[in-house]
Symmetry: C2
Subunit: 187 residues, 2 copies
């Protein structure tokens, strides 16, 4: 058996999500996940350090991808650059996403998972800000713009889960809603 195998990782992710949805996150053990995926508990730990991270596979690879996307954008204005990067990263996320509605429900069921999800969001926001600063945007503006783009990315992702529309359209619709919220009526 290979030391690391993407097929096994995928099976583990699916098995974990199924079990969490069936029995509740707190009630599932690593042994059960490993069993359902047809591997040993010991092999599980080659893939994930605990029962939480199996739901966040690949999250650590996001920040460098986001920084690159910010640096590669052909846009000029800070928010346009950040939204460009959000569009790119969102496209990658949805391309490999599976059972996202189930995953969201499991995360919403557990304060510990919500906390981890927030850490992931904060890392995304920080990467957007970091990329903008590297493009010469002033740090305070970069942070504000990164936070706005992160809200848009998150909302677009949720819209994508709910509607299944093309991700770029979801993001455009969210940005349009944000503009509408800020401008109607005068305030």
């Amino acid at each position: 058996m290979a030391r690391w195998d993407p097929g096994t990782e995928d099976r583990l992710r699916r098995a974990a999500l199924e079990l969490y949805a069936e029995h509740g996150y707190d009630n599932v053990t690593i042994t059960q996940i490993a069993e359902r995926a047809g591997i040993t508990r010991r092999t599980y730990f080659r893939y994930f350090p605990d029962k939480r991270e199996v739901l966040f596979a690949g999250a650590d690879q996001l920040p460098p991808v986001i920084i690159d996307a910010v640096l590669a954008s052909g846009e000029d204005a800070a928010l346009a650059v950040a939204l460009d990067a959000a569009r790119h990263v969102g496209g990658l996320l949805v391309a490999r996403a599976e059972q996202t509605a189930e995953r969201r429900a499991v995360i919403e069921s557990s304060p510990e998972l919500q906390e981890r999800e927030r850490t992931k969001s904060a890392a995304i926001t920080a990467a957007l800000a970091e990329g903008l600063v590297r493009r010469g945007i002033e740090a305070g503006e970069a942070r504000l713009v990164a936070r706005l783009a992160a809200v848009a990315l998150q909302e677009a992702f949720e819209r994508w889960i709910d509607t299944g529309e093309d991700f770029a359209s979801c993001l455009d619709a969210v940005v349009a809603s944000i503009r509408e919220a800020l401008y109607s009526p005068e305030r």
Copy 2:
């Protein structure tokens, strides 16, 4: 000695923050905090369950205050209502805030504290959304508007720490910056 005393709570908060700033959050014990505040370790636990919560005193009282502020707003548009609540709550926060720059530096030094701070922010966002829903705003719009108002509140609070300007002016300036980011140039 009284069972619970606001003066003691304040002393504990100050002692903890001083010690964290001096020695680093991870290196300070509850015994040291209690000692500096002139109480016993045992008395400490009447006030806070651990060494983290002393930095988040009163955080649990924020959500109901926010919901009330949303319900009390005389504005009509969802974002205007949420910003009204943010202005009200921000005013309360800054009125009782002490050593905020030191507190921010301590929080930025520790992943555990950042996590707790994000939990606090998420509770603020959820309370804003909840209040808006109770006013009859559709849930999806309420969530988006709550997230935007939460970004504005957070940015305004940071601006207030950095500049010491009046909180309402900080919030207005942040909202103006958000509008500018969304509208210049065309995208």
